[in-house]
Symmetry: C4
Subunit: 194 residues, 4 copies
Amino acid sequence: MQKNRLEAFSDGVLAIVITVMLLEMKVPSGSSLEGLRPVLPLFLSYVLSFLYVGIYWNNHHHMMHAASTVNGVVLWANLHLLFWLSLLPFVTGWMGENHFAAVPTALYGIVLLCSAVAYILLAYALVAASGADSRLRRALGRDLKGRWSMALYAIGIPLSFAAQWLAQLLYLAVALIWMIPDRRIERVIRDEHH
Amino acid sequence: MQKNRLEAFSDGVLAIVITVMLLEMKVPSGSSLEGLRPVLPLFLSYVLSFLYVGIYWNNHHHMMHAASTVNGVVLWANLHLLFWLSLLPFVTGWMGENHFAAVPTALYGIVLLCSAVAYILLAYALVAASGADSRLRRALGRDLKGRWSMALYAIGIPLSFAAQWLAQLLYLAVALIWMIPDRRIERVIRDEHH
Amino acid sequence: MQKNRLEAFSDGVLAIVITVMLLEMKVPSGSSLEGLRPVLPLFLSYVLSFLYVGIYWNNHHHMMHAASTVNGVVLWANLHLLFWLSLLPFVTGWMGENHFAAVPTALYGIVLLCSAVAYILLAYALVAASGADSRLRRALGRDLKGRWSMALYAIGIPLSFAAQWLAQLLYLAVALIWMIPDRRIERVIRDEHH
Amino acid sequence: MQKNRLEAFSDGVLAIVITVMLLEMKVPSGSSLEGLRPVLPLFLSYVLSFLYVGIYWNNHHHMMHAASTVNGVVLWANLHLLFWLSLLPFVTGWMGENHFAAVPTALYGIVLLCSAVAYILLAYALVAASGADSRLRRALGRDLKGRWSMALYAIGIPLSFAAQWLAQLLYLAVALIWMIPDRRIERVIRDEHH
């Protein structure tokens, strides 16, 4: 019961984040194809952020599905994650409007890094609530993918000032790694059913 | 369980898309009836897009109802559909502000075409997850309506440059065809109940 | 099942309508109390529209609770109602920014009237889906309140041009009448439980 | 059943309030770190309001979980609470844009005070609906935390004109007090389970 409402609230926030991001894409004044050109970097940064919100929604979905109970700490850990994800429209817009300039690219990486940390804190809170022997605990195992992506964000942030496009590539690479859904959790859930 | 959350998230995104579209309709400065005139094309493009979001919501509703299971591929196919539908407010606003000019009308058709393709990919992903012998498989049958509408969009896009109003009529015609809910699925569901 | 998703989607749209309306209330530039004065009419029109969205949500809630089944016609009747309610932020903002001038006040009344007609069409669609002998049919009975409010809106629209404040009072009066929840439906539901 | 829909609607409104607040944070024009400076007070006021929406969502969650039934009065008491919380984006934006000036800080306090009063009225309405002997009645007990926070808001509002930063500290202090979830309700629910 409680879990359902936490999921519904998170879905609501993520659904709005994904949609409101497009409000930064101001309708161009002319009707020519040329008029779309200034919108292009905003569109590309929107695509990247859409991927990230999709990834978080998918993995959040899987993780909550494996969790058995939630408590007050989980509720706040979840709100903490939503806080960082709610900053995505702002940094996406800033990065897009400045054609992926160094400082906005670094700030984008910081928001991604903080979101990743918040996601891991939420995982810890859920494991603590479910018990060390729980299905979720076994499902998460040694969180290699989470550690790798945090390391790549940490490299991407200073890299923005040296080679901003390489930082963008790093962010995209991490997104593509994560688009493969969390097989670990899917496997454990499947195993339980047999 | 999993299906419910996918439906809830899609509903959230579609509900926001439908409402945020109206934010493009800026409140006119004067209080006279004349002041409403520049808003009229935006209003008309809003009506068309509202119909489309309604159609997608209705058919999504029916298709998910007939589906038995979802997996990681379905989640991403669904996000892919939501991505294209989330672009509707932008192209609706651009088309409305430029009084249905050629380029925005063509771009609007492209977003409609990509949404239709994404919907069919979602249908394939659902059938693959449910099995070739599933209720959904039989319900979808030979998807004539889907093929026709894609063909009409594909005609509408180049037509925008020759006769933009004919392209608009095509888009409206496809919408009206789809407003008749998917009887195929309704029939199969009813048959199962008897 | 189907009913749940229709309710969830309607809740989503109404929740966004209620919140997005406030985006019309632009943050004033100064920090003095004087700076709030131009926002006051927008705030008052927001209060009136908030009441109306609350009334529609409450009565929609009650009516759907009494309904037993939904079909394709009900889905479209519901979308039709949501369409008119989604226009509320625009007319609210226009009316507020022009200090309740005649034309915006009349347009506001037209949106209220269309919403009321759409609500009654939804009620008819639900009764048709549930059967003439259904609980909902008996619950709605002779819809005096609905008829009265439509009559008052129909008076308010031309009245806007003669005495705009009287029209506002009429709109407010109808809102206050409706804030009393639909006892008819509550009674029938209670009777069924005994 | 009815309770679920009230929760879902409230979640929707709160999710939008939390996200729409960020739309006040306009993307700065330059790409330098300096460009972020005017956004900083808006960001800080956003953090404070995010905490408050999180607190209200958490406590609303707990209180509704303990409630057994809802009626028409509860629905309106809930809408009344959502009305005040829906004003948060406006006062947050006004306070942030004016660097926490006196009048916006006082108005922010007024909205917090009205929200707190509305929350207590909702609690009374729920207790009245559930009966004086209900689980919720015992769970709420003597609402010391609610009374204290209202007293602190009432001090903060006039204090804004003398020492605006002290008023901000008061608002933050109340938020931190509330971030500790309502142990009273959690305890009673746990006790019932044993």
